[in-house]
Symmetry: C2
């Protein structure tokens, strides 16, 4: 081999790489048509002959193929979809999928203030044990049979009653059981989206939304989130310019910020959605942790343009899985068909157990208890974070999360990396915000902040140590 | 209004309708590029000017839009995905989604020889009751926590051991838990397919495959199924001409025919898949009902090109849902990411209960018992069907199903319609075969054939009555 000095890439190489990257990240899938030479030359700011040469080179490599009279197409077979390979390669400390995995691993030595759920010691395990013994004496049907197509009717009735307490009026037959809120959002994506559609998200938002929407091959537009809800001017601009299919909102006890939409914001978001004919999926997964329900998008709207999604995974059990969606009546039938095609239906046993825990009073008592504990722990965690030099973005009215800003000059990903080396799993802002707006922030789950080691590790990480 | 005599459609109208239908059936989705005028004219066998006029007309109606220099595109926003609206509108009696729904409804008055699963009285409810009481005394983790990312490790170990008994060698960390086999196939579709890809199915095959693949917007090619497996010449032709991404096979106790692949067929299917670089998903959902395991595609192949899928829904409980897939080691990590993005993981409680039912001996005893009962009922049902004038397509070596041909001249959809009016849910062949090859057949679930009323209703339906 001869040794050669590395040279700066030529224009042709730069263009070639840009296309190769789009193919690798599946922005261009096999069989997709490449942009015309002229439009790509304009977009890249290069001459047409440069693009022609790049296309020729990729053609010679077999990466693209020319079809007479109709342009260039991506060659070859589809490769498996790797969420990790899409977008920039992430450091594990800020890789949301990896943070989720860490939080799910059983390692008792890890402290997890970055977790998205309550500690198992907070969950109503005694009531679940009683519920299991109760169901072990009930009819065979709930133990071995498929659920009804919409899901266990008595539970749907209870969910409708609970939604009404939050101002959302739904009939039981507008409610569909799905095994988790994530699966419900996924089902709705299947129902509503085609590849290439656009979806609006809050910036920052729950990190799994990005992964889920990537799997649906749609474009995502982030709208800055404020302590009273989405920035309305930016939301209007996104609705007007991008014609999104829906806005995926998290209006009560927003993840990661803990903020809740102000009533006037609820009204204005709905007005904008109407003006631009955009749907809204309202993920109400943390809604039951509110003491006094704030207005919901689904409530003001009457489930016309808004679809609401929820589950019991965060409040009763993430092991016995049960979620649901509420939607306008005429969409129930096609959604049931799609649900059966994707899964053959929800878990019947989980639905009967959740129904039992609601009707025997467990759920109401348990919610009262965890709301109180969360209020206490939120105060404690806030004081400790402030003592470490962090600033709260807002004072949440309930829920698990505090969104706290590091002092200027500190990078949350670097802090998370150092803390992880000391056995503390943090949730750095970059995982929740692809725009970089979240970079100075960390999300803290107050229910996991009791151990003072968390704050000593955090302080050391902020001081640059340990080596 | 003026009255006009109906005229035969002009060529332009015919072309216009062809495009409108493709848009309605989502073969062309909003934003998709229409074929070039020349290629479409060739495909339709009309002149280019006819296509130009049709495109102009559709443009004037707003159905498509011209983009300068780059052709015509489907206009408008995506409409919700309705599986029903895709393909020909089906009579309810042959609508597979509707048959599934009927089988899931609780109506005790309906007789369901068309059902795809065992009666609840056959399921091991006493063992499940004991299992629930046992788990009610176990640690909190299995009751309230998310499962590990791959799923409960002890169950994955047991599944690996059970697969090995069927000649499929897999390590526990090649196995991923998913809540059902349907969800496992769905996850694999996400992982492997892009819209417009092609998948090969058996003709006939399990009807839900068609619905599921439709939701993934892929093309489906059916290959005739014979009593020893797929027709190999047709399979080779499909592999060569269509370059499918995978063949979705059901190699043991095939649904709906009950046939099992001959060992030589297993070998040859693998050779063909290798020669044409096609993957295989082997759905082994009924495999545990075999007394003597036949060779599996995944076993001969060593899980290189074959992915195997299974579940406990058909044998232990469809209410406490637990399925799995086994795949080559390097695909586990991206599949875990995708699984978490879609669902936040499988049900931990279901996995611990299934593990308990395997390790306490319930599963082995229960399988022995239902295999014996199925053998008895298969013989009984076969004799009764033959007495009614139907002919068995093959003698299955195990499982739930008999695929039986009606006497010439009788249409299974019409028979199913008449039987339904008498409270008997049949599974007519057209639901399993889009080619029409299945039309003279009905699928019978022998475990649901004990009630003699089924055969008297069938006979009356075959005689043309009741009015």
């Amino acid at each position: 081999m001869t040794a050669r000095a590395p040279a700066a890439p030529t224009l042709v190489e730069t263009v070639t790489q840009a296309i190769t990257q789009r193919i690798a990240s599946r922005k261009l899938v096999p069989g997709a048509r490449l942009p015309s030479v002229r439009s790509f030359a304009e977009a890249m700011g290069v001459s047409k002959s440069t693009v022609v040469e790049a296309y020729d080179r990729l053609g010679a490599e077999g990466a693209i193929v020319a079809r007479r009279g109709s342009g260039f197409y991506v060659a070859g077979k589809t490769r498996p979809l790797c969420l990790k390979a899409v977008g920039p390669e992430l450091d594990r400390a800020v890789d949301p999928l990896w943070i989720t995995r860490q939080s799910m691993q059983s390692g008792p030595d890890l402290l997890k203030p970055g977790s998205g759920w309550l500690p198992s010691s907070w969950m109503p395990d005694d009531a679940i044990r009683r519920g299991l013994r109760h169901l072990s004496r009930e009819g065979t049907r709930s133990l071995v049979c498929y659920d009804q197509p919409l899901g266990f009717a008595p539970l749907r009735g209870q969910i409708a009653r609970r939604m009404e307490e939050k101002g959302v009026v739904a009939q039981a037959d507008q409610i569909l059981l799905i095994d988790s809120a994530t699966q419900a959002v996924d089902l709705l994506c299947r129902f509503l989206l085609s590849p290439g559609d656009t979806v609006v998200l809050d910036d920052p938002c729950y990190f799994n939304y990005h992964a889920l929407l990537r799997a649906h091959r749609v474009n995502v537009v982030g709208v800055p989130f404020t302590p009273t809800g989405p920035d309305l001017a930016a939301l209007e601009a996104a609705f007007a310019a991008q014609r999104p299919r829906f806005y995926l909102a998290n209006s009560a006890l927003h993840n990661p910020t803990g903020a809740t939409l102000a009533p006037a914001t609820v009204h204005r978001v709905l007005r904008l959605a109407e003006a631009h004919d955009t749907l809204i999926i309202e993920d109400d997964i943390f809604g039951d942790l509110e003491s006094e329900p704030a207005p919901r998008l689904a409530g003001f709207d009457g489930l016309q343009r808004v679809i609401q999604v929820g589950s019991f995974s965060k409040t009763l059990s993430a092991s016995v899985r049960c979620g649901f969606l509420a939607v306008r009546p005429d969409w129930i039938e096609p959604l049931v068909d799609l649900k059966l095609a994707m899964s053959l239906g929800n878990g019947h046993f989980a639905a009967t157990l959740m129904h039992r825990l609601i009707t025997d009073g467990t759920y109401r008592r348990h919610l009262a208890e965890i709301r109180e504990k969360l209020a206490r722990d939120r105060g404690l965690a806030a004081r400790r974070l402030e003592a470490c030099g962090l600033t709260l973005w807002t004072e949440p009215r309930g829920g698990l999360f505090l969104w706290a800003r590091l002092p200027d000059g500190l990078d949350s990903a670097e802090i998370a990396r150092r803390a992880l080396a000391q056995g503390v799993v943090l949730a750095p802002g970059a995982a929740f915000s692809t725009s970089g707006a979240g970079t100075p922030y960390l999300r803290f789950n107050v229910a996991h902040c009791a151990d003072p080691r968390i704050f000593s590790v955090l302080e050391r990480a902020m001081q640059g140590g340990p080596a």
